[in-house]
C-alpha cells in the first residue's frame, strides 16, 4: 500500500538527490537564467496568489504547506511533495493550478490564466530553480513526550491515600470530612453549621430522587426523635431503595451518554427502540449494577457472555450506546458517514468514561493533551471494525433481535417459520447489497433492509439498537487532516499510549475478525485505568455538591481544571473500586458526611476567602434542573402520573415534529427526547443538549425562563390545579378565632392569610415571612371577588417563579 506519507518520503529523497545532481550538471548561465525566470514569472505569482494561505508571514499553513521559501516548497505538505522533478508533469502543484482535479483546485477562488500555468510547467521542467532561502518551518506533527505526559495528575496511577488526622477535632469525623477539613484549616475557613432538618429533607429528596418531599414526610423527619446521624441514615436508605432513585440518577447518566430518541441532523429519524436503553440505565441504577459492568456492556455488550436471557437482553440493549449518537444519516458519502459515526463514538466514549477529548486528535495531534493522531486512529480502527450503520439514501443504525425473556412462552412452530423466512429474506438482501456496485441501486437495497429491520417491528422478537463486528474488521490508517479520502500510514489498533504504563504499550493482539471492542471495554473498566473511576466518582460528587472536585467533569485533560482535593479524589476512586464500583454505596458515603449536611448560607469570611466555595465550608445552593422543576410542578398540582418506563413512541409516529408533550404527565425522565424538538420547559431550563456529552448542565438565567413560568399554559394549568389541591382541604378560620366578633374585612384578612400560608407550605415547604405574607395579601386584594381563583392562580404562579422554589438550599 503506497500511503501518502510513504510517497512523501520517497519524493522528498528524490527531490533532494536530483537537486544536488541538477546543480552540478547545470552551467552557471543556465542557473542564472533559471533564477531570472523564477524571479520574473513565478515568484510574483506565488506571492500574489499563494502566500495568503501558505506562508509564515500570513501565519497560515493550509494543507500543511508553506510556499514562501525553497525548502518549504520542496518539503511539500499533507498531501506529500508538491513538485516532482523526475516527472514534472505529475507535480501536484501543476495539477492544482490547472484545475483538472475537482477536489484540488488552487488558488481556490480563481484559476490562474493559461499563460501562467504554462510558466509553471516550464519552470518545473527547468528543475524548479528557486532563489529563496530560509528553512522549513516545523510542522505540527507529533513529537509528543508521552513519558512527560504520564506525569500529569489524571494519568498517574491511583495513589494509595491515607486519611489525614485532623488535630483537635471535637468529634470523630468521616474520612471525607477529614480530607476537606484539612484543607479548610490550611486556608483558614470554618465549616458552616448543619442545615436545619426542613432544609435537609428537601435537599435529600431532590438530590436522591428528584422529587419534593410531601408535607407529611417533612413533618415526620423534622419531628423524628432520633439523633441527626441516625435519622438521616434512615431516610437516606429509604430514598436509595426507592425506584425513584434510578429515575433521578439514571437521568444524570443519560446526559453523559447523549441519550435521545431521534437521530437529529437534517432528517431526525425516530429511534423507536431507544427507550429500552433508557430503561436499562434506570434499572441499572436501581439495581446498583456495578459501574465497571455498565461500562463493558455499553461498549461491548453484544460481545459478552450471558448466563440468562435477561442478562443477554440487557447487554444487547446497553450496546445501543454506540448507536445513539446524533448522526446525519442523510450524508451521501458512505465512507464519510462511516467515519463520522466512528468519530462520534470515540469522542463520546472518551469524554463519558475517561474525561478526555480524544476527538480533538482527529485532524492532528491533540493541541493540549498528550494524545496523538495515531492514538486516535488506533481507536478508530476498533470502531471502524464495528458495524454500526446500514447504508441507504437515508442510512440507518441497526437493530438486533433480543432473546425472548426467560418467562415468555416458548416460540411456536408457526413463529419459528415466520422468523426463518424473515431472516432468509434479510440475508438475501444483504448478499445482494454486498454484490451491488452501482451506488444508486446499492442505496435502494440498503433502504429495503432498513425498511424491514428498523422501520418496522421485527417479527416474533423484540428489537434493540445494537452493533455488530464488521466484516472487514482490521487496522485502519491515519486520515490526513481528518480527510477520510486521503489516507496515510497504517495504524495498528491499540489504546492511547499516555493512559498506559510505557511497558504495556503495544498493538492489540486480536483474533481474525475481532474488532478489539471487548478488549477496549475491559481496559477502560479495569481498576488500573487511571481515569475511569476518578471521572465517575467526580460525577457523583458533582451531583451532590453542585460542583465536582474537578469542576470540568467531562474534561480531565490539560484544558480542564485540576482537582481541588486531589488526595480525596484518589481516595474516593479507590474506595469506589473496593466497594465493587457501587454507585449507591458512594452516594450513601457522601450524603452522610458533615460537608453534605452543611448549610448553604455563606458568611462574610467564607465569601471573602472562598467566593467560589472550592473548599466547601458550606453546601452550594443549586437550581432545580428542568426535570425536577417539571416533576415538582406535577407533584404539587397532584397530577404526576407515576407509570414507570416502557415504550415511549407509538409505532405509527413518523416525525418528532409537532409532538404534544403537554398531554403526558409522566415523570420527566420518561418524556421522549427528540433532538430537534425538545420539550419547551426543558429547552428553556437548560436541559442537557442530547447531541453532546454533558456531565454538567449549563445554568443559564435568561428571560425566557420567567416568561415560561409566568405565561405558559403548562405552568398556568399546574398552578390552577395546585390551588385547587390546597383549597380542597377547605379553608376555615382557626377555632380559636371568634368569628362573630370579626368585621367582614378582618375575616377576609384572616382567611387570606390562612390560604397564603397553605400555599407557601405546599409549594416551598415553609411558612411565609411576614413581609411575603403582606405582599401576597395586598396582591390578592387587587382582584375583584369573581376573579378569586384567577388571583390565587396568579399568586401560585409567582411562587413557582420565585427563588425559593427554583433553588434548593
Amino acid at each position: 500500500m503506497l500511503a501518502a506519507t510513504g510517497r512523501w518520503k520517497i519524493a522528498l529523497c528524490s527531490v533532494v538527490s536530483l537537486f544536488v545532481a541538477g546543480v552540478s550538471s547545470l552551467t552557471a548561465d543556465d542557473a542564472a537564467q533559471g533564477i531570472e525566470f523564477f524571479e520574473k514569472r513565478i515568484r510574483p505569482v506565488l506571492a500574489e496568489n499563494c502566500y495568503e494561505c501558505h506562508s509564515a508571514e500570513s501565519g497560515k499553513r493550509k494543507g500543511g504547506l508553506h510556499l514562501d521559501n525553497r525548502a518549504s516548497l520542496r518539503a511539500g505538505g499533507d498531501l506529500g511533495a508538491v513538485i516532482d522533478l523526475e516527472k514534472p508533469e505529475a507535480s501536484l502543484l501543476l495539477r492544482a493550478i490547472s484545475y483538472h482535479d475537482a477536489d484540488l483546485q488552487m488558488p481556490p477562488e480563481k484559476r490562474l490564466p493559461n499563460a501562467v500555468v504554462e510558466d509553471f510547467r516550464k519552470w518545473l521542467a527547468l528543475g524548479a530553480p528557486d532563489s529563496r532561502d530560509g528553512a522549513v518551518s516545523v510542522a505540527s506533527t507529533s513529537g509528543i513526550d508521552f513519558e512527560a505526559g504520564r506525569k500529569f495528575w489524571s494519568f498517574r496511577p491511583l495513589g494509595e491515600m491515607e486519611v489525614p488526622k485532623v488535630a483537635g477535632a471535637a468529634s470523630p469525623m468521616s474520612p471525607v470530612d477529614a480530607f476537606l477539613e484539612t484543607r479548610r484549616i490550611e486556608v483558614g475557613l470554618k465549616s458552616a453549621p448543619a442545615a436545619d432538618r426542613r432544609t435537609l429533607i428537601r435537599r435529600l429528596y431532590f438530590d436522591l430522587i428528584g422529587l419534593p418531599p410531601a408535607e407529611v414526610d417533612v413533618q415526620a423527619f423534622v419531628e423524628d426523635p432520633a439523633g441527626d446521624d441516625e435519622a438521616i441514615a434512615k431516610w437516606v436508605d429509604r430514598l436509595l431503595a426507592s425506584k425513584n432513585f434510578g429515575e433521578r440518577w439514571g437521568r444524570h447518566w443519560l446526559d453523559v451518554v447523549r441519550f435521545a430518541e431521534s437521530s437529529g441532523g437534517g432528517r431526525a429519524e425516530l429511534m423507536h427502540e431507544a427507550w429500552r436503553f433508557r430503561d436499562y440505565v434506570i434499572d441499572s441504577f436501581n439495581a446498583d449494577r456495578p459501574f465497571d459492568q455498565m461500562v463493558r456492556e455499553h461498549l461491548a455488550g453484544d460481545l459478552m457472555e450471558a448466563a440468562t436471557a435477561a442478562e443477554r437482553r440487557g447487554q444487547l440493549v446497553a450496546s445501543g450506546f454506540l448507536a445513539l449518537g446524533p448522526t446525519n444519516y442523510e450524508l451521501q458519502d458512505k465512507e464519510q458517514l462511516r467515519m463520522e459515526v466512528v468519530d462520534e463514538q470515540i469522542d463520546t466514549m472518551g469524554r463519558a468514561f475517561m474525561g478526555m477529548t480524544i476527538g480533538c486528535a482527529r485532524c492532528h495531534d491533540h493541541m493540549f493533551d498528550p494524545i496523538s493522531a495515531k492514538d486516535y486512529y488506533a481507536l478508530a480502527g476498533i470502531f471502524r471494525s464495528t458495524d454500526t450503520l446500514m447504508f441507504g439514501n437515508v442510512s440507518s443504525w441497526r437493530h438486533a433481535p433480543l432473546p425472548r425473556p426467560d418467562d415468555a412462552p416458548p416460540v411456536t412452530d408457526e413463529q419459528k417459520v415466520a422468523w426463518e423466512a424473515f431472516e432468509k429474506k434479510v440475508a438475501e438482501l444483504e448478499v445482494k447489497f454486498a454484490a451491488t456496485t452501482n451506488l444508486g441501486s446499492r442505496k435502494g437495497v440498503g433502504g429495503e433492509i432498513i425498511g424491514l429491520t428498523v422501520k418496522k417491528d421485527l417479527p416474533v422478537y423484540d428489537a434493540a439498537m445494537s452493533v455488530l463486528e464488521a466484516d472487514d474488521a482490521g487496522d485502519y490508517r491515519l486520515a490526513i487532516r481528518g480527510d477520510v479520502h486521503r489516507l496515510g500510514e497504517d495504524v495498528a489498533r491499540a489504546f492511547p499510549e499516555v493512559m498506559q504504563p510505557a511497558d504495556a504499550v503495544a498493538p492489540l493482539k486480536l483474533k481474525e475478525g475481532a474488532s478489539g471492542r471487548l478488549e477496549l471495554a475491559n481496559w477502560i473498566a479495569s481498576p488500573e485505568h487511571p481515569l475511569t473511576a476518578r471521572v465517575y466518582v467526580n460525577r457523583i460528587w458533582h451531583h451532590l455538591f453542585g460542583q465536582g472536585l474537578v469542576r470540568t467533569v467531562d474534561n480531565f485533560g490539560a484544558t480542564g481544571e485540576a482537582p481541588s482535593h486531589p488526595e480525596l479524589l484518589d481516595w474516593l476512586a479507590a474506595e469506589f473500586v473496593a466497594d465493587g464500583w457501587s454507585t449507591k454505596a458512594m452516594v450513601r458515603r457522601l450524603v452522610l458526611t458533615d460537608a453534605y449536611r452543611a448549610s448553604s448560607r455563606a458568611d462574610q469570611t467564607q465569601q471573602r476567602l472562598d467566593p467560589e466555595n472550592r473548599w466547601l465550608a458550606r453546601q452550594n445552593h443549586r437550581r432545580l434542573d428542568a426535570e425536577v422543576l417539571r416533576d415538582s410542578l406535577l407533584v404539587l398540582s397532584g397530577e404526576l402520573d407515576p407509570t414507570p418506563g416502557g415504550k415511549t413512541l407509538p409505532r405509527e409516529l413518523r416525525s418528532e415534529f409537532g409532538f404534544d408533550y403537554d398531554k403526558l404527565l409522566v415523570r420527566s425522565v420518561y418524556l421522549p427526547v427528540f433532538r430537534n424538538n425538545i420539550e419547551s420547559l426543558f429547552s428553556v431550563f437548560d436541559f442537557s443538549n442530547p447531541n453532546l456529552v454533558a456531565g454538567r448542565r449549563a445554568v443559564s438565567t435568561v428571560p425566557s425562563q420567567a416568561l415560561y413560568l409566568m405565561n405558559s399554559e403548562f405552568v398556568s394549568e399546574r398552578a390552577a390545579r395546585a390551588v385547587e389541591t390546597v383549597m380542597a382541604k377547605g379553608a376555615a378560620l382557626p377555632d380559636s378565632v371568634p368569628a362573630d366578633e370579626l368585621s367582614a374585612d378582618q375575616a377576609v384578612r384572616l382567611l387570606d392569610d390562612e390560604i397564603i400560608e397553605r400555599l407557601f407550605v405546599h409549594t416551598l415547604g415553609r411558612e411565609p415571612s411576614a413581609d411575603e405574607a403582606r405582599q401576597c395579601y395586598e396582591f390578592l386584594q387587587t382582584f375583584p371577588e369573581p376573579q378569586r381563583h384567577l388571583a390565587l392562580t396568579a399568586l401560585q404562579q409567582a411562587l413557582f417563579a420565585s427563588v425559593d422554589f427554583r433553588y434548593v438550599d
Binding site: E52, C53, P108, E109, R111, G264, G265, G266, R267, N328, E330, L331, Q332, D333, E340, R351, T357, C360, C363, H366, F368, D369, L439, G440, D554, A602, D603, Q607, F657, N676, N677, I678, D686, N689, N691, L692, V693, A698, S700, T701, V702, P703, S704, Q705, A706, L707, M710, N711, E772, Q775, F779, T782, L790, A794, Q797, A798, A801, S802, V803, D809
Partner: protein
C-alpha cells in the same frame, strides 16, 4: 441626516428602548449591565454593518432560473452531456434543461434577472451578486445545517449565536437573535441553537411554520388570563418576593440569584415591548402596500419582512426570515414541476423588494446587511421531465447594504451554470465575509469548549474582499 435616522438612533440608544419609563432605573444599573452577556460591544474591526437580515429561501432556488443568466444553456437545452452528478458522486449522461423563464437586463449595469423577479430586478443596482457560490451537503439537512452552523453533521452554534456572542445586541428589551418562521424540520432548532455557547445567545423563534404571519409571536409572551395591569402587579409581586427571599438567605450578594430578578424584569420589558414590534398594524398603508401586505400571494412573507425591518430598526442584531415550510420537499425544492418556482417567486418578490426599498428610504440599508439565498442551488440538467436536482457546486446568493459593493457581480459558474468556476465563494467564505462586515474576525471569534477553540468557519473561510465596498 434625515428625520427617520435620528428617530431610530434615539430609540436604539436609549437604554430602555421601548420599555416603560418606570423601569428606567433598572436599565441604568451599571453593575447589572456589566453582567449582561447581551450588552452591545464592539468587535475586532471597524464594522460596516451593525445587523443582518437573512432572507432564507428554503429548498434551494435555481440560480439558472433567477439571477444567473446562461444563454448557452438555453441554446443547448435538450442536449445530452456527460456531467458530474453531485447526487451520485459520479459522471453521468444528463439532459440539459434550459430555463422556461425569460431574462432581461435591469439597472445601470444591465444585470440579467429572470421574469420570476420583476420587483427585485428593480433593485439590482443595490445588490451584490455572489455567482460562484458553493457549499457542503447534497441533501437538505446537511446543507441547511452547513449554511446555518458551518457543519453538516457536527454540533456547532448557529451563525446568529456566534454574532450575538461577539457583539451583543443594541436593545436590552429584545433578544439579540430572532428567527421568523423557522422550520422545525431539516435540523430544526439546531439551525438557531447556541450548541455549546451560553444559552443567552440562542435564537428566539417568532411565529412558526404553518401559522399565519399575522399571528406570529414569541412563545409565552403574555399570560392568556391576566390583564396587562394584573400582570404588571404579578411581576411586581414576584420581584418583591424574590427580593425578600434573596435578602433572607445571605448578605453576600449572590450574583446568580440577583440575575433571577434581573431576568424576570427583562422578561417583563420584553413582553411589554415585543408585541408593538411584532404588530405591523401601526404602519402606513403605503408601507404595507410596498411589502405586498393585503395581497393574498404576498401577505405572509410581506408581514414577515416588515417585522424584520421593525426589529432591525430597534436594534436586533441578527434577524432571519425563512421562506419555509415543513414539506418533505421544501418550498423551492422543485425536483419536478419546475414551474412551481413561479409560485414561490410570486410570494417573495414584492416583499423582498419592498424590504430593500423601505430599508433604503429609512437610511437603514447603509448599516444593515441583507443576505438572500438558499442552502444550495439547482442543476442545469433535468431531473425527471421537468425538475432540477440539488446543486451544492454552483449557485447564486446576493447581499445588499452593510458595506458590500452595490450593483456588483462577483464570480461565475460555467457556461451552463452547473459549477462555480471563477470567483468561487464557499459558504465558509460567505460566513467569514459577513462576520468581517460586522467587525468580527472569523479567526478570532472563538469559544473554548471540550478542550479546543471552536469558530464558525472551522479551519477554513476567506473574507471575500472583492465584494466589500
Amino acid at each position: 441626516m434625515n428625520h427617520s435616522l435620528t428617530r431610530r438612533q434615539l430609540l436604539t440608544r436609549s437604554a430602555c428602548g421601548f420599555g416603560s419609563l418606570a423601569l428606567a432605573g433598572m436599565c441604568g444599573n451599571e453593575a447589572l449591565a456589566a453582567a449582561n452577556p447581551l450588552r452591545a460591544r464592539p468587535g475586532h474591526l471597524p464594522a460596516r454593518a451593525k445587523r443582518v437580515i437573512f432572507l432564507w429561501m428554503q429548498g434551494g432556488p435555481s440560480q439558472i432560473d433567477t439571477f444567473d443568466y446562461k444563454p448557452e444553456l438555453q441554446r443547448r437545452s435538450g442536449e445530452k452531456v456527460k456531467l458530474y452528478n453531485p447526487r451520485s458522486s459520479q459522471l453521468e449522461e444528463l439532459t440539459l434543461y434550459g430555463s422556461p423563464w425569460e431574462f432581461k437586463p435591469y439597472g445601470e449595469r444591465g444585470h440579467h434577472v429572470s421574469s420570476l423577479f420583476p420587483n427585485i430586478g428593480q433593485h439590482v443596482d443595490d445588490l451584490c451578486f455572489l455567482q460562484g457560490m458553493h457549499t457542503e451537503g447534497v441533501a437538505h439537512g446537511p446543507a441547511t445545517l452547513f449554511m446555518h452552523t458551518g457543519a453538516t453533521n457536527l454540533i456547532r452554534p448557529s451563525m446568529g449565536s456566534w454574532i450575538t456572542y461577539g457583539l451583543g445586541t443594541e436593545n436590552d428589551s429584545l433578544p439579540g437573535f430572532v428567527t421568523i418562521n423557522a422550520p422545525a424540520t431539516k435540523g430544526g432548532p439546531r439551525n438557531y441553537g447556541p450548541a455549546f455557547l451560553p444559552a443567552d445567545f440562542q435564537g428566539t423563534p417568532i411565529g412558526r411554520v404553518g401559522l399565519p404571519a399575522a399571528k406570529a409571536t414569541i412563545d409565552h409572551l403574555a399570560n392568556a388570563q391576566l390583564s396587562g395591569a394584573q400582570q404588571r402587579r404579578q411581576f411586581d409581586l414576584l420581584k418583591n418576593i424574590n427580593r425578600a427571599q434573596i435578602d433572607g438567605r445571605d448578605a453576600t450578594g449572590d450574583k446568580q440569584l440577583e440575575a433571577v430578578i434581573h431576568s424576570s424584569e427583562l422578561a417583563f420589558r420584553m413582553q411589554t415591548a415585543a408585541p408593538d414590534l411584532l404588530n405591523i398594524e401601526g404602519e402606513s398603508k403605503a408601507t404595507k402596500d410596498l411589502y405586498g401586505i393585503g395581497e393574498a400571494t404576498t401577505d405572509d412573507y410581506g408581514r414577515q419582512c416588515l417585522m424584520a425591518r421593525k426589529l432591525a430598526e430597534s436594534g436586533v442584531r441578527y434577524i432571519q426570515v425563512s421562506y419555509s415550510d415543513h414539506g418533505a420537499s421544501p418550498m423551492w425544492d422543485q425536483h419536478s414541476k419546475l414551474e412551481k418556482h413561479q409560485e414561490h417567486a410570486a410570494a417573495t418578490d414584492k416583499p423582498v423588494a419592498g424590504l430593500l426599498a423601505d430599508l433604503k428610504a429609512r437610511g437603514l440599508l447603509e448599516d444593515t446587511l441583507v443576505w438572500w439565498g438558499g442552502e444550495f442551488g439547482r442543476t442545469p440538467f433535468s431531473q425527471g421531465k421537468d425538475g432540477r436536482d440539488h446543486n451544492p457546486r454552483g449557485f447564486t446568493t446576493w447581499l445588499a447594504g452593510g458595506g458590500v459593493k452595490a450593483g456588483h457581480r462577483h464570480g461565475m459558474t460555467d457556461e451552463i451554470g452547473n459549477e462555480a468556476v471563477d470567483g468561487k465563494v464557499h459558504m465558509h467564505d460567505l460566513h467569514a465575509t459577513i462576520l468581517h462586515l460586522l467587525g468580527l474576525d472569523h479567526e478570532r471569534l472563538t469559544y473554548r469548549y471540550a478542550g479546543r477553540d471552536f469558530r464558525l468557519t472551522d479551519v477554513a473561510g476567506r473574507v471575500v474582499d472583492e465584494v466589500i465596498a
